[in-house]
Symmetry: C2
Subunit: 375 residues, 2 copies
């Protein structure tokens, strides 16, 4: 019996990605798996059913999930979908357990082994499975484009018959994968770019992309490649240096998201109020409430003459490539436990051990267990 | 008595530009002119009243226009505004007389000397007054950004932990000022770019921007820097070569606009139907009905899996810079007839003679006179 893999139809509002692309479907077949999905599951990613060679199109969700050994998804399945999963099957998906704690409980009740893609550890060996990074790179690129189309000025210097237009200034706050890609894209478009991050080691990375680094003298390196939370004093010190840079900028892109926690407020209301007329903020940390005090997640607001956009699920705007990278991340994780046509969960593997959310009816990460116990 | 210049408040839907920017206001003062405008006229271009040093804020439209010797505008004034103009005063504005023929008659009745900015001849001496070109450059830049944000793929090659993403293909049809700027911008973003135009001399220009030129073997050079209208045979020949390039592209940007005439249909419905899933067309010729048979001016439509955007008044999306360049174009034209604090219309000047639409109660360009007589 081959391992049966099912791909969920994404149904959350605005979600255009899909957890499987044709190239990955072929690799799964070669691994000895049979793959099935619902008709149209790839369409929002511009992937019609007939693009998926060798994938079976299931007639109903029930048929799709009833005997699936492994289920692939982008967003956390809904309770009604979890109810249809085969007991003790394996699920690979983004979960973010704090958002809908009841889902994690349902996964435990069903004995599902769930790998939460946002938990993939940030170690070299796991880079090819790091979906947060692959999606963040796309989000950073798109944020720069959003900034450019929202601004009523052009980014590059332009020499015309009536004189030169000066290039725009773009400040990127938070130089992780998304921030660096935003810097690179704004620079490609001809902007003068500045990068800012509390982790001093990002200076070199920003500079390698042609950006100036805003040095505030505060070191905020934290665990797991994320910035740690800052003290009030540190925040004040940073604010005083950064305010000047914010207020000189035409576009500010913020990317300081901490999975599972509220996004730090990097831009205060008074800072926005002192910005240039017509300036634009693109806040990529909207899922956690946003990095700007004026941000309203999912909306674009105008405050005075400043436009603040806080889009949700930005990778979905680039669904074709986002799905491609995500599906490859899933494949790489799956290959850690699908070997020679059989499932073999080796918990000595750090990547599996750190990514697993539920197994044998238990929530595995202590932090999640503690957090959900409070609900 | 100084020459009195009035700046109209733009009131057409979606128009964010303004005919005067602070730097030009200062120059007009130095030329010995007094300048007035209505409160808030620059606001949509991010220019508050207090940015305009030395400009008087008029209380009402009547006060603004009653004794103005020269009136500056972006879009053609409405009939109610023309009614308020001082008889025999001078108007500088885009007009496009075929759109609202009654406006040109009203200008004649009022004895207005109207310079229609779309008529500035395309000769070297007039480059600094060429508002069509200055606005087209901005539109071309914006079209490439629109293409990039509408496409659900990224433009540049990107190397990730799970492999490389191939760069997108962008075809630009019509290599005037807008088309070349679109090519340059798509290239900056990392796309593989191709340019196509019926005028063979554009080959070198496209190639200088890193684009491949689509050579169809048809020479369609026309008068005044515009492409001439093509025969059916020529169109067929072009279509057969171009179809292949259209159908390989991720983004197609079309820019073949002929002022005062319907835009040529460069992309047929069958050509669109054969395009790649998820491909995007940005049609910059929407004012004249569009270059694509599926285009609906002012709308974004989805046909099969192809998205066709035909935006109107694209320069207005970049209002700050569009106003800056346009105001400078106006200033340069104005300096041809405002000399030593006096107005002196020298009709021996080719630029003035070709740009004038109405003077002494008459429509001056023969073509316009003939066209409007038919109404």
């Amino acid at each position: 019996m081959p391992i049966k893999i099912a791909v969920l139809m994404e149904s959350r509002p605005g979600e255009k990605r899909v957890a499987l692309v044709p190239a990955v479907a072929e690799k799964l077949s070669k691994l000895g798996c049979s793959v099935s999905m619902l008709s149209g599951a790839g369409l929002a990613s511009k992937l019609p059913d007939n693009a998926y060679n060798g994938v079976e199109i299931a007639g109903t969700e029930q048929h799709l999930l009833a005997d699936a050994d492994i289920v692939l998804a982008v967003q956390a399945p809904k309770a009604s979908e979890i109810a249809l999963l085969k007991p003790a099957s394996i699920l690979l998906s983004f979960i973010y357990p704090h958002k809908e704690p009841e889902l994690t409980r349902l996964l435990c009740e069903k004995n599902i082994t769930c790998f939460a893609m946002e938990q993939v550890p940030r170690i070299s060996r796991a880079q090819a499975m790091d979906a947060l990074s692959s999606q963040a790179a796309l989000a950073g690129y798109y944020a720069a484009l959003m900034g450019a189309t929202t601004l009523s000025r052009i980014l590059p210097m332009m020499t015309t018959a009536v004189g030169s237009i000066r290039p725009a200034r773009c400040l990127v706050m938070g130089l992780g994968v998304a921030g660096l890609q935003a810097l690179a894209t704004a620079r490609r478009l001809g902007a003068i770019t500045e990068g800012y991050d509390v982790r001093p080691e990002t200076k070199e990375q920003a500079e390698s992309l042609g950006a100036k680094f805003v040095d505030t003298g505060v070191d905020a390196r934290g665990e797991g490649g994320y910035a740690r939370e800052l003290t009030a004093q540190e925040k004040d010190k940073i604010a005083s240096v950064v305010t000047r840079h914010i207020q000189q900028a035409d576009i500010v892109i913020t990317t300081a998201a901490i999975p599972g926690r509220p996004s730090p407020k990097l831009i205060s209301k008074p800072q926005v109020d002192g910005m240039k007329l017509g300036a634009v903020i693109i806040d990529l940390a909207a899922e956690g409430g946003g990095n700007c005090e004026y941000s309203i997640p999912g909306e674009t607001v105008t405050q005075g003459q400043v436009t603040i956009a806080a889009p949700l699920n930005v990778p979905s705007m680039l669904a074709e490539h986002a799905s491609e990278l995500y599906a490859k991340n899933l494949l790489n994780l799956l290959q850690l436990f699908v070997v020679d046509g059989a499932i073999n969960l080796n918990w000595a593997d750090e990547v599996l051990a750190k990514t697993v959310l539920t197994h044998n009816g238990e929530i595995k990460p202590e932090a999640v267990k503690t957090a959900l116990a409070k609900h």
